[in-house]
Symmetry: C2
Subunit: 326 residues, 2 copies
């Protein structure tokens, strides 16, 4: 079934794409097989990340971006990630509403994803969903996420270009400009720029940018004021995306490599825990150890070392196997 699904994804079938992303979202074991089957066909799409605080009007902005990019004849996939919602029920309803604007257009595919309990699960799922859209031939993939925390940073790291959308009027310019956000932004947007405070916010961003000295030929994140509801400023924003793409061409491979490494580490860590529990430990053994920690009989570091010792040997400096592989 999974190979058929992969073939249909590769053929660009929207129902197959939706089904594939559902498998990924549900962490269905078949999703790994699917990614295996499509992986060699990926790497062609350009990934655009859009993040920012709640209320910045990102959905509307992404809809406008989609329309504008589509006008240039490119096909688009949108993944709207909501790390604050553990359910995708509401998101799916939102998808329908958002899809209507592009309903007749086969070149646009929009999909929401909600969070999973698992640590880092959402960033991985987002990455895999982007692979599906990539394999299906979408030329531009927009990943939209709410928030300004570490997981949004992780999700945005998946992208080739990162757009940070801010909004005036929260009276909170300083918070919005926290170092973490300043560092991931390739392009800034002050959306709802017709609101009071837009100029002040833009000035605050510019003042922050002015603190850093940019070397010769180094990309200095530009700032655009947009009113997504009317489309004002959106063509200029799209222009800047293409400019960044051209500018970062020499470093794009390195950026993608970092992304691959990050995902591999995360995948190995998580799968190790699954397999340790299923294959190495007796049923209930992990639970018994947790009880001992809760009772303060064992500390978590000793417990962790003990568990690792079951597969890697007890001594921290002991060599296990060194194969000449790869």
């Amino acid at each position: 079934m999974s190979s058929t699904l992969a073939q249909r994804v590769l053929a660009g079938d929207p129902r197959a794409m939706a089904r594939a992303i559902s498998l990924i979202e549900n962490e269905d074991p078949a999703s790994a097989d699917l990614v295996r089957a499509i992986f060699s066909h990926t790497g062609k799409a350009y990934l655009v990340g859009v993040t920012g605080p709640p209320g910045a009007g990102k959905s509307t902005l992404v809809d406008r971006l989609t329309a504008e990019i589509r006008r240039a004849g490119l096909t688009i996939g949108v993944i709207a990630v909501d790390p604050t919602s553990p359910f995708s029920g509401g998101a799916v309803l939102g998808d329908r509403l958002r899809m209507q604007a592009h309903a007749a257009d086969q070149g646009v595919f929009i999909r929401s994803m909600a969070t999973r309990g698992q640590l880092g699960g959402l960033a991985r799922a987002t990455g895999d969903a982007a692979l599906v859209l990539d394999a299906a031939g979408k030329e531009i993939i927009i990943i939209e996420t709410v928030g300004v925390g570490q997981d949004e940073v992780d999700i945005i790291r998946t992208a080739d270009v990162s757009i940070v959308a801010l909004v005036p009027g929260t009276g909170d310019e300083v918070q919005a400009l926290k170092a973490g956000i300043m560092e991931i932004a390739d392009i800034f947007v002050v959306n709802k720029a017709d609101r009071e405070g837009a100029d002040r916010l833009a000035a605050a961003v510019e003042a922050n940018l002015a603190l850093k000295s940019y070397g010769e030929g180094e990309w200095r994140p530009p700032l655009f004021k947009t009113v997504a509801t009317s489309g004002r400023g959106v063509p200029e924003l799209v222009e800047a995306i293409w400019r960044f793409r051209a500018h970062s061409k020499p470093t794009q491979a390195a950026r993608r490599r970092t992304r691959s490494e990050y995902r591999l580490r995360e995948l190995v860590s998580q799968r190790f825990m699954d397999r340790l529990e299923r294959e190495v430990l007796s049923p209930g053994e992990l639970g018994a150890l947790v009880d001992q920690i809760a009772a303060r009989e064992v500390d978590p570091y000793t417990a962790a070392n003990d568990l690792l010792g079951r597969t890697l040997g007890q001594l921290p400096d002991r060599q296990i196997t060194k194969s000449p592989h790869s």
Copy 2:
């Protein structure tokens, strides 16, 4: 040195506490030894988590909470976590300003922590820092964090009671009430309640709470309107914390056990990756595999299985060692 440090932490020495938390924040290997040494002395403090979007006035609210709880004669430790900032430089300056209000009071200890690159690293560091304050004899530990994303949820899971602080005037009530936040809140606060829109926001929260039916004896999160700058509503909020504490006494152990399990899993996963690289793989081997992924020659799932096979065996269903331990 670490045992002396542990002894000084156990004696409640503020400089030792600060030093211990720095070790934890920097992921210094000595921090694990420290946690080992103090762990059996922990579990006595009550952990209060405070989260909410940027600009909700959490710092001021936490300062007021601190003063109010202190008035009841309890000692307090505060950990202010900023997941959006990769540097603690600014945070430390903030500490000094915030400490001044309680400068003469030995019963209050305030400390900021900034993010680390490592996935889940901040939640673990926050948990370990709370252990330090707990071992040092602080009776109430407040963990304050900015944001409404998954990592804040993870951090707040560390707490015995979770307070979600909202703020009117962002025009964004619906976003603030996303399911993830609704579910972790034991107590809601509408801070800056003298602002326009406070009643509307409070009504929106109440309307959301009304959607859920609470069983007989089940805790229904109360909502308080506060003006942290003046202290309005803060005594009532502290009352509610004590009420929740009494109400949740029967389930507190289970909640803490879940927290222990989560931390153990996370710790094992992360340490496995570290040891795999250091002890099992040849130098550069992981990098070569990442190159193959970047070149689309190997997919990440196959690569991950391959790496795991080096320690756990290749076949997914193969049994490795089953010890009768614990």
